[in-house]
C-alpha cells in the first residue's frame, strides 16, 4: 500500500478516481444550475442550502477543492514524466492514424479548463466566500429576498463573459470525450459493459457542457 503514488499504475488510478469524483460533482452542479432556468425559487433555496449547510461547506467543499487541485497537479506531473519518457522527437508522427485528437491533447484541454476555473472562482466563489465568511453575512438575503438568482443573472449580462464560459465548456466537452471512458479503463474496468459505458460517456461529455452553455445563454437573453 505504501508508495502507491510512486508507481505508474497507482498514479493512473489516483488520476482516474479524482476524475470520477469531479464528474459526479459537475453533474450535480449542472442539475442545480438547471433549476435556475426551471424555477428561480427552487434555485435560491438549493443555493442557500448548499451555501450554508455545514457538511457541504466544511467537509465536502474542502474535499472538492483538494480533488480539483490534485487532478490538475497530477495531470501536470504525469505530462512532465511522460515527456521525459519520450526519446528524440519523431520527424514525422501521424498521431491521427491511431488515436483521437482529444486523447492526445488532454493537457491542453485540461489547461484551458484550469484557466476557466480560475475565472469562474473569481466570478462566483471568491465573492461568495467574501460575503459569507469575511463580511459574515450568512443570511443569503439582499433587499429582503434571496440574492443567489439575481447574482447569477447579473453575471451573464456581459456578452464577453458568456463567450468566455462557452469556450470553457467546449474545452470541458473535449476533455470529457476522452476522459470519461479513460477514467474507467484506468481503474481496471474494461468488460462487457464497456461499450455501453462509452456511449453513455459520449452523451455525458456532450450534453452536460451543452446544457451549461444553454443555461448561460438563457440568462443572457432573458435578463
Amino acid at each position: 500500500m505504501s508508495g502507491i503514488l510512486n508507481s505508474s499504475i497507482g498514479r493512473k488510478f489516483a488520476m482516474a478516481l479524482s476524475a470520477l469524483f469531479l464528474m459526479i460533482f459537475v453533474l450535480q452542479h449542472f442539475v442545480i444550475n438547471l433549476f435556475s432556468v426551471i424555477s428561480p425559487d427552487t434555485f435560491n433555496e438549493i443555493s442557500h442550502f448548499m451555501g450554508t449547510f455545514w457538511v457541504i461547506q466544511y467537509v465536502i467543499q474542502p474535499i472538492l477543492i483538494i480533488g480539483v487541485i490534485f487532478h490538475f497537479v497530477m495531470g501536470f506531473v504525469l505530462e512532465i514524466k511522460n515527456k521525459k519518457a519520450n526519446g528524440v522527437k519523431y520527424a514525422k508522427n501521424n498521431g491521427a492514424a491511431n488515436s483521437t485528437w482529444m486523447s492526445r491533447n488532454m493537457i491542453w484541454s485540461g489547461g484551458f479548463i484550469l484557466a476557466f476555473l480560475i475565472i469562474h472562482f473569481i466570478d462566483f466563489w471568491i465573492p461568495e466566500m467574501n460575503t459569507k465568511y469575511i463580511l459574515g453575512d450568512m443570511s443569503g438575503m439582499h433587499n429582503g429576498e434571496f440574492r443567489y438568482f439575481h447574482e447569477l443573472q447579473e453575471k451573464f449580462v456581459p456578452i464577453w463573459r458568456v463567450a468566455l464560459y462557452i469556450v470553457g465548456f467546449v474545452f470541458l466537452a473535449l476533455h470529457l470525450l476522452h476522459g470519461f471512458d479513460s477514467a474507467f479503463q484506468s481503474t481496471g474496468a474494461n468488460n462487457k459493459y464497456t461499450k455501453g459505458l462509452q456511449g453513455f460517456g459520449k452523451a455525458y461529455a456532450i450534453l452536460i457542457p451543452l446544457g451549461f452553455i444553454f443555461i448561460a445563454l438563457f440568462h443572457h437573453f432573458t435578463h
Partner: protein, 253 residues
Amino acid sequence: MSGKGMNLTLKIWRQKDANDKGKMVDYKVTDISEHMSFLEMMDVLNEQLVNSGEEPVAFDHDCREGICGMCSMYINGEAHGPDRGITTCQLHMRMFNDGDTITIEPFRAAAFPVIKDLVVDRSSFDRIQQAGGYISVNTSGNTQDANAIPISKHAADEAMDAATCIGCGACVATCKNSSAMLFVGAKVSQYALLPQGQVEAADRVKNMVAQMDLEGFGNCTNTGACEVECPKGISLENIARMNREYLAATLKG
C-alpha cells in the same frame, strides 16, 4: 512482376552509434516492385549503398514472416508503417505510390536508445520479462501433465490472445507517452488468466510494473494508439487487467 516499378525518395535516420547525434538523410531508389516487402526495398537501397562504397543502413530483421518481432521502423509517422496488424516485414510496397517520399525513423523512446541508424536497444523489455514474466515450475522430470488442470475455453483463449505479443515495441514507439503498458499488460495477462500463473500473480505484476517504471517508460493515458498499431492485435483489456491485478496486489500489501 508486372507493371513499371516505383521511384521513391527515402528520408532515413542515420546515426553512426549510440553517442552520435544523428540526422535525416535523403536517398533515392528506383524501379521498386509493388510486390516487394518494405524490408526488401531496404535491401535494394543497401545494395545500392554498398555498391557505391557507402555505409548501408542498419535495421533490425530476422524471420521476415511476422513472428519474431525484430523488425521495427517508424514509417511515415506510424510504427510498422501505414497498414494494420502487421510488422514491417509484412508491409508491402503496394501501400505506396510512385513518386512518394517515405520517412523512416527508428522506434523512439528514452527506454529504447538507438544503437545505430534504425536499430534500437529493446533489452528493457527483456528485463521486464525477467522480473516476473514466467512461472516457477520444476521441469526436472516430475512435471505434471498439462491437461491435469482443467482450464475454461474462455480463459485459455484470452491467455493465448495475450501470449501472441511478440514484444516488438510498436506500442511504446507509437505511444505519445512512450508507455510500455500494452506489452506488460499482455505479459501479465497471459499468466494471470491461467491457474499455473496465479500462484505468483501478485509478485509478478508488482515486480514487472516496478521494472517497467525503472526502465523509464511513461504513464498510459489510454489514447488506444498502441492497440491500433499492435501487429498482433493485443487488446487494451490487457492493460485494464494489469491495472486490476496491480491494485489488488498492492492493496493486499
